[in-house]
């Protein structure tokens, strides 16, 4: 069949098409780019790295750039990308990481000064159980000759000390509005899309500098070749993220069952994790004009704890939604 004719998803989706492939193409995080480029000058001395910062600021992108530049053409073969929020237990460390780290020790005669030739990128490493993180300690050391680890996390405090101490830590800053807008404008120019400044502002307001989310909104809104505020608004409305806002609204309105149904859809159809739901639900609480958001946040924290320690996730989340409905928050707005 016409195998070559099939378009690649990574060519269709702008978020991949415009993902930088070299460190010097990364628009922000100048200090980090400089630091990494310096480290790359002596590849055999490259330390393990730990990238921390909020979502969509370029942590994974930089890790991939680094892999490309260090490993060259075969970077994909020699890079293991794992997302700890999908496989978070010790099994993942033992079966995937350990195996990947040990296979290559046999495959090549190691010279003392040879450069590392395998990279393991552990994304969302803060989602790993501490048991799994502990199991990594030895692997990191045993495979140090051949392998470099790049840990990526949102919250540095969730990474155990022994791993932190084995890595050079880079803290990523938020991407500013100017940087986001400039990048999005460039994309629009390339794609021949007309865009409204207000629409770009709207995107930034919504995503708070999350590049992945920004570019996805832009593309979904660009169907007509023209991106307006209204189209951005429409595009924002379809995401799983905005479902969370709807769920919280319904719950606050004491529409328990409607909010529960939407939640089940979010978890099952969109595949969003329970913990991610609560994480963004917490953001939503502070976006609303509540008299005492801290009270609500405290309740949420309690159920987040129970989610981690309870047997039935659905019972815990439903109980949380019912709590929101009882508080009568609507009549108590500021």
């Amino acid at each position: 069949m016409e195998k070559q004719q099939k378009p690649l998803v990574s060519d269709i989706m702008w978020v991949e098409k415009y993902r930088p492939t070299r460190l010097d193409q990364v628009i922000n995080q100048k200090e980090i780019v400089k630091g990494l480029e310096n480290l790359l000058k002596k590849p055999n001395e490259l330390p393990h790295l730990l990238f921390t910062g909020s979502a969509g600021v370029g942590k994974t992108t930089m890790a991939i750039c680094l892999a490309r530049q260090l490993l060259g053409e075969n970077w994909k073969r020699d890079t293991l990308e794992l997302n700890a929020s999908d496989e978070r237990g010790i099994k993942m460390v033992r079966e995937r990481v350990k195996e990947f780290a040990s296979i290559m020790k046999l495959s090549i005669n190691q010279q003392a000064d040879e450069r590392p030739f395998k990279i393991i990128i552990l994304d969302e490493a803060d989602e790993m159980t501490s048991e799994a993180q502990t199991a990594l300690r030895r692997i990191i050391e045993d495979s140090a000759k051949t392998t470099r680890f790049v840990f990526i996390c949102n919250y540095l405090s969730h990474i155990i000390e022994p791993i932190q101490s084995r890595c050079v830590i880079f803290r990523f800053s938020k991407v500013s509005e100017d940087e986001v807008v400039e990048y999005l404008k460039n994309i629009c120019k390339n794609e021949g899309v007309k865009v409204d400044d207000k629409a770009l502002h709207k995107i930034y307001e919504q995503t708070n500098g999350d590049m992945r989310h920004s570019i996805n909104i832009l593309q979904a809104a660009s169907a007509s070749g023209n991106v307006s505020v209204q189209q951005v608004q429409n595009a924002i409305g379809i995401s799983g993220r905005s479902k969370i806002s709807e769920i919280i609204d319904l719950a606050i309105d004491s529409k328990f069952n409607d909010s529960r149904l939407k939640l089940l859809e979010l978890l099952n159809v969109y595949g969003v994790s329970e913990t991610d739901f609560l994480r963004y639900a917490n953001e939503e609480i502070y976006k609303r004009d509540l008299e005492n958001p801290y009270e609500v946040s405290t309740i949420l924290a309690e159920y987040d704890y129970r989610l981690a320690n309870g047997a039935h996730p659905e019972i815990q989340l439903a109980a949380f939604l019912a709590q929101l409905g009882r508080l009568n928050l609507k009549s108590r707005k500021k």
Partner: protein, 408 residues
């Protein structure tokens, strides 16, 4: 004597069911020479594995050395027990056979090194070794590789029927056909369950015996839970109920799900939400969530002895608040047509979500939050044909996309 012991088959030809499998075992033993692979009998409980090995040893005149889950089977223990047998087998005079029962019960933690040691020993044994196991697991893969495996199946209804007839004959009793069929159905091919069920009915010690909860019994228990006036009476009822505490977090079967007490309470409460005030509803679910916490702690720490308090805690938290609310049993918390679409679409989208998570270098949850719907929108907007996901599931994923495009 309990009937399961009384009717444990003692002679090699007295068994019911698994004729072919038993032949394989006999065949293996009669052709056994040094260097033959050891035999692994797989099969659910109550299919006669242990009894058969015992009768086999007797028939072929072997001394049977048996180790089961009650023995500590770590490396040094096994070494101390097995090695002398293997090396000095000829000195014992009589022929020896080693029987390792319940090898799936060899624990990773307490029996450290046990399985890997076994795998080594099995390769070159001087005596016949037979193992039995209810299930396969990852830890056993070396053992599986070096063994001849024979799988015992649950007793067929016909074999079950013959077994019942045999026992009835021996007891000089008769039983109506319907009861026999019920016993066969409830035991689901477990000979032990079959014999227990039969004993309970014949000896009449326990009336209305039931092994597996039927829908009716679950419904009855939940209804009683929400309507009984007296808390002590409710506690007594729960003791005899088929409902159980379990946790879906560690994965559970369809049967466990249907008997899951907390799940049944939850479904019943939320499907009656219309009749319950917001305040009450929040309160009930909060209490349920507390018990849920307690139950999971038990599971996580394997503190099974604490399970006996679960009913008490549940009653303390939930009994008073749930009186007079008219809560009725419901198996599903959502009308089925609705939950059907949610779960079916969720299931069918899964390969797409996984493929996008690889493409976008991010977790599946992030895909759900920030990518999936935008991707589908872009696909709907554009005129793309078949897409390349660089995955071996490409065809399947493209089918999913076509389906999604057709959705309004």
């Amino acid at each position: 004597m309990m009937w399961t012991e009384k009717y444990r088959m003692k002679s090699i030809d007295g068994f019911f069911g698994n004729e072919k499998e038993r032949h394989i075992v006999i065949d293996w033993l009669s052709h056994w020479v040094k260097g033959s692979k050891p035999l692994l009998m797989m099969g659910p409980p109550g299919t006669g594995k242990t009894s058969f090995v015992k009768s086999l040893a007797k028939y072929f005149d072997y001394d049977l050395v048996e180790l089961n889950a009650s023995d500590l089977r770590n490396k040094s223990n096994l070494e101390a027990l097995i090695l002398p047998l293997l090396i000095n087998s000829s000195l014992f005079g009589k022929k020896l056979m080693l029987f390792l029962d319940e090898i799936d019960g060899i624990s990773g933690r307490d029996d450290y090194g046990g399985l890997s040691f076994l795998a080594v020993v099995l390769k070159d044994a001087d005596i016949p070794i037979i193992m039995a196991s209810n299930s396969k697991n990852q830890k056993m893969k070396d053992v599986l590789k070096s063994s001849k495996i024979v799988t015992f199946l649950p007793l067929t209804p016909f074999a079950s029927y013959l077994l019942i007839k045999y026992i009835l004959n021996r007891e000089s009793k008769i039983l109506d056909q319907d009861t026999i069929i019920k016993i066969i159905r409830d035991a689901r091919g477990d000979a032990r369950g079959l014999i227990n069920g039969l004993q309970m009915i014949i000896e009449g010690t326990i009336e209305g015996y039931s092994k597996i909860g039927s829908e009716y019994e679950i419904e009855e228990s939940i209804s009683k839970f929400f309507t009984f006036e007296n808390i002590n009476e409710t506690k007594q009822m729960l003791l005899n109920s088929v409902l159980q505490f379990s946790t879906p977090k560690f994965g559970y079967s369809q049967e466990e799900r249907s008997r899951d007490f907390l799940n049944a309470l939850y479904n019943s409460i939320v499907s009656n939400h219309k009749n319950i005030s917001d305040e009450k509803l929040a309160n009930l679910l909060h209490c349920l969530s507390e018990v849920d916490l307690f139950v999971n702690r038990i599971y996580e720490n394997r503190n099974w002895r604490l399970l006996k308090y679960s009913n008490d805690i549940l009653l303390t938290k939930l009994f008073k608040t749930s009186r007079n609310l008219g809560i009725k049993y419901s198996q599903y918390s959502i009308p089925f047509p609705l939950i059907g679409t949610i779960f079916m679409r969720g299931q069918s989208l899964r390969p797409l979500r996984n493929a996008l998570s690889k493409q976008f270098h991010t977790s599946t949850s992030t895909v759900g939050l920030f990518c999936l719907s935008y991707f589908l929108q872009v696909i709907k907007n554009g005129k793309f044909g078949v897409l390349d996901f660089n995955s071996n599931e490409d065809d399947k994923i493209n089918e999913i996309i076509v389906k999604e495009k057709l959705r309004a």
